[in-house]
Amino acid sequence: MKAIRNFFEKTKPHVQKGGKYHWLHSTHDAFFTFAFVSKETSKSGTHIHDFIDLKRTMSIVVLALVPALLFGMYNVGYQHFGALGQLGTAGFWDMFLFGLLKVLPIVIVSYVVGLGIEFIFAQFRGHEVNEGFLVSGILIPLVMPVNTPLWMIAIAVAFSVIFGKEVFGGTGMNIWNPALVARAFLFFAYPGQMSGDAVWISASGVETMVDGFTGATPMAMAAAGNTDFNVWNAFIGLIPGSIGETSTVAILIGAVILLITGIGSWKIMLSTVLGGAAMGLLLNAFAGDNVYMALPFWQHLIIGGFAFGAIFMATDPVSAAQTEKGKWIYGFLIGIFAILIRVVNPAYPEGMMLAILLMNTFAPLIDHYVLEGNIKRRLKRAKVNA
């Protein structure tokens, strides 16, 4: 421990301004503060500061994502062996290891590319490296189909970090959720590779698929008029889909972590679910003989990316509404639009991504009206007392 600290302390002068290795300053600082909480003490203002910082906050979000990640790995293997018709013979570890080997490279590419760009920007700006990408870097793999080529992941990450975040000024300044920007970029830039039924299951090069196997997600099936999926499997997560989004159970474990620690906004989570349920009910009421519209509203919450988006994406504090009242409106509208786009728009199988990006865009407007309300109320109060 001491040796590491001495190493960092000894090398510190060399990365300061004017030092030979100044170009490594941000990198040095990032690793040093990652390993050791700085000894810097308060110079002005309050003398004590809470122990919570952005590193703590972000690491808790990453922790909350771990169940979804682990289950995602298992499910990748499960779907693979399912496609081969070998579910009976493949054991738990076969499936998990298969998934691990498929998912790990995606996670590594995401972190290496994203953090690399973050370090370079921090160095140029003379900032400390922000922790925001610790979360984005794991969110991005979790919303990708497992068959996405690594080079596409790299391009998507680079696009989202540079154009989704750094051009606005870095963590805390971005308008859209960076992970969704990456997903949307791939969705619109490479529609051929990113849609259809083949991307969800890692079984390329395998010719011996079982008869009748399509690899379609329950949502794609529902859009095609077949809502006869296994609800229990959808809840557990043993369905095709993006790596981390399939298991409602794993996502709920993450939600519990975020809610106990108070790091995720319960208002946004609840209002998003309420919005989704409300839209689902409304569609049910006007369903007629449209089977997708007739899908029971609660089933919408466990298929596709709805749960994952509501818990981990909509709650991103930077791109969400920032006033407490605004959060209710913001979340509710995400729920509404997600289900609306999902069911009514035939071009997009899933609406969650677009609904969140849309409401990210409108979040400042929502806040603006909440703010105006506050200003008006305060002026009125003056007249009453005058």
């Binding site: 390993a35 003398h47 919570i52 910082d53 305060r378």
Partner: protein, 450 residues
């Protein structure tokens, strides 16, 4: 008409080292000093030279732009030195006490029988006037102004705060006289805010004052929070705020005709061997109060005031003008290995991200470490939890950073001073210097709008 306010938002930071209800007499300070730096925006002009003899109540310096506002010596003795900082800015005017207790004579009279002008005159001459603060901005009140109301908070809710019922236990009549004097200064009322626990203390039964009670965590005792709920200020409104200590000083001045600035302070904090109360004098040197009373004497931080709003002092410094306590905490200037991953059973936090949140009664030793680097605003809804006012603090701070005067005005800069947002700064995940930013904003407002 008495009202009760129940405030939900806020936080009581549970620190170790609250003062025991024992009063000791501290050794008489050899030197005392007044620090112009306790008054943001003040430009002092000296009225004495070094080595001049002074009595308690003689002016040491005055406000260049309001020469009627004097700052007077709390003791008799000789002016020892004037410490100056950069560009010859006056940092402190030090008086060496001669121990003779000679007082300049002021009028001894019942303030209820005096006119407003006579009371103002005596307060200005005696140097007590600077204790009267105005809102907006939290600057020294101007004698020519007519305040809508005057507010006094009868309790301090900040961490390890002294118990006002204890430190003013012998000052009941001075409190009443002081309140009487204040009641002549405004056409409105004098409001006193009390905690519901203070049913039988020195503040009960005071006349010429409207009492309201405020229940809830810190900052319920902040006078700004109280006046926000009783009679909020908007553009054009002006109220004055006075601390109970100042009310006592005013009372003594009219009762005795002398400037008696002796006071009781609390010596608190986890690094103090036995935290208790000490009787000393306004502006006393800190070393007399601290020497031999702390546990380690190195890597300690001495604070004149509380941990949220106090000023860092050294042993050769002096008590701040408005401070009622000294707090000693560990400096915390050491590295901690992957501290962000610590489960945190010993880490008190306003958030629920540490195991300590499972122990709702435990008291903690907190040090002055920043516990993280400064970041942009990332989280939302955090500050609102610690400000029991109808104000959106993050948007106000952003307006200040953007130098948008209209927005600052609309979002409530008139109602806040630093202490009201101190908890937000403590709890901030991004370690943003909230109090500094707010003062910058207030300075802009003073400069642009006067």
């Amino acid at each position: 008409m008495s009202k009760h306010f129940k405030l939900k938002r806020g936080l009581d930071i549970r620190l170790k080292g609250a003062a025991e209800a024992v009063l000791e007499k501290a050794e008489a300070p050899k030197t005392v000093a007044l620090k112009p730096t306790d008054f943001p925006g003040l430009t002092p002009k000296l009225s004495v030279k070094a080595d001049a003899p002074v009595k308690a109540g003689d002016a040491l310096f005055f406000d260049k732009y309001h020469p009627e506002i004097l700052f007077t010596s709390p003791v008799s003795g000789t002016v020892k030195l004037v410490n100056r900082g950069e560009r010859r800015k006056i940092l402190e005017v030090v008086v060496e006490a001669d121990g003779k207790a000679e007082f300049k004579a002021f009028t001894k009279a019942d303030p209820l029988k005096l006119s407003r002008e006579e009371i103002c005159g005596q307060l200005l001459q005696s140097g007590i006037w600077p204790f009267i603060r105005q809102r907006p901005y939290g600057t020294t009140a101007k004698p020519a102004d007519q305040p809508k109301n005057i507010f006094v908070s009868g309790f301090d809710s900040s961490p390890l705060a002294p118990d006002y019922d204890f430190i003013f236990q012998n000052d009941k009549s001075a409190l009443q006289t002081g309140i009487n004097a204040l009641s002549k200064l405004t056409e409105g009322s004098v409001f006193l805010g009390l905690s519901p626990k203070q049913t039988n203390g020195v503040f009960s039964g005071l006349k010429n004052v409207t009492v309201n009670t405020f229940a809830g965590p810190h900052p319920a005792g902040n006078v700004g929070v109280q006046l926000h709920h009783v009679s909020p200020i908007n553009k054009g409104d002006l109220v004055w705020t006075v601390s109970p200590q100042a009310v006592v000083y005013i009372g003594r001045l009219f009762e005795t005709g002398m400037l008696d600035l002796s006071k009781t302070i609390a010596l608190t904090g986890s690094e103090v061997k036995s935290p208790k109360y000490y009787k000393t004098i306004h502006g006393a040197e800190v070393c007399g109060l601290l020497k031999g009373k702390t546990k380690h004497e190195t890597h300690e931080r001495y604070i004149s005031g509380n941990v949220l709003t106090g000023t860092k002092v050294d042993l050769d410094d002096f008590l701040g003008f408005f401070d009622q306590q000294i707090t000693v905490i560990p400096e915390g200037d050491d590295y901690e290995f992957i501290g962000w991953a610590d489960p945190g059973i010993n880490k008190f936090s306003a958030s629920k991200a540490f195991l300590s949140s499972l122990l709702p009664k435990k008291e903690y030793t907190l040090n002055a470490n920043m516990n993280g680097g400064e970041r942009a605003f990332v989280l939302s809804g955090q500050y609102e939890k610690y400000l029991p006012m109808d104000i959106l603090p993050v948007f106000l701070l952003k307006a200040i950073l953007a130098n948008d005067i209209d927005k600052m005005e609309q979002l409530g800069i008139y109602e806040l001073v630093e202490e009201d947002l101190a908890l937000c700064e403590y709890a901030c995940t991004s370690k943003i210097k909230v109090q500094d930013i707010l003062r910058e904003g207030i300075n802009v407002m003073v400069k642009e709008l006067g």
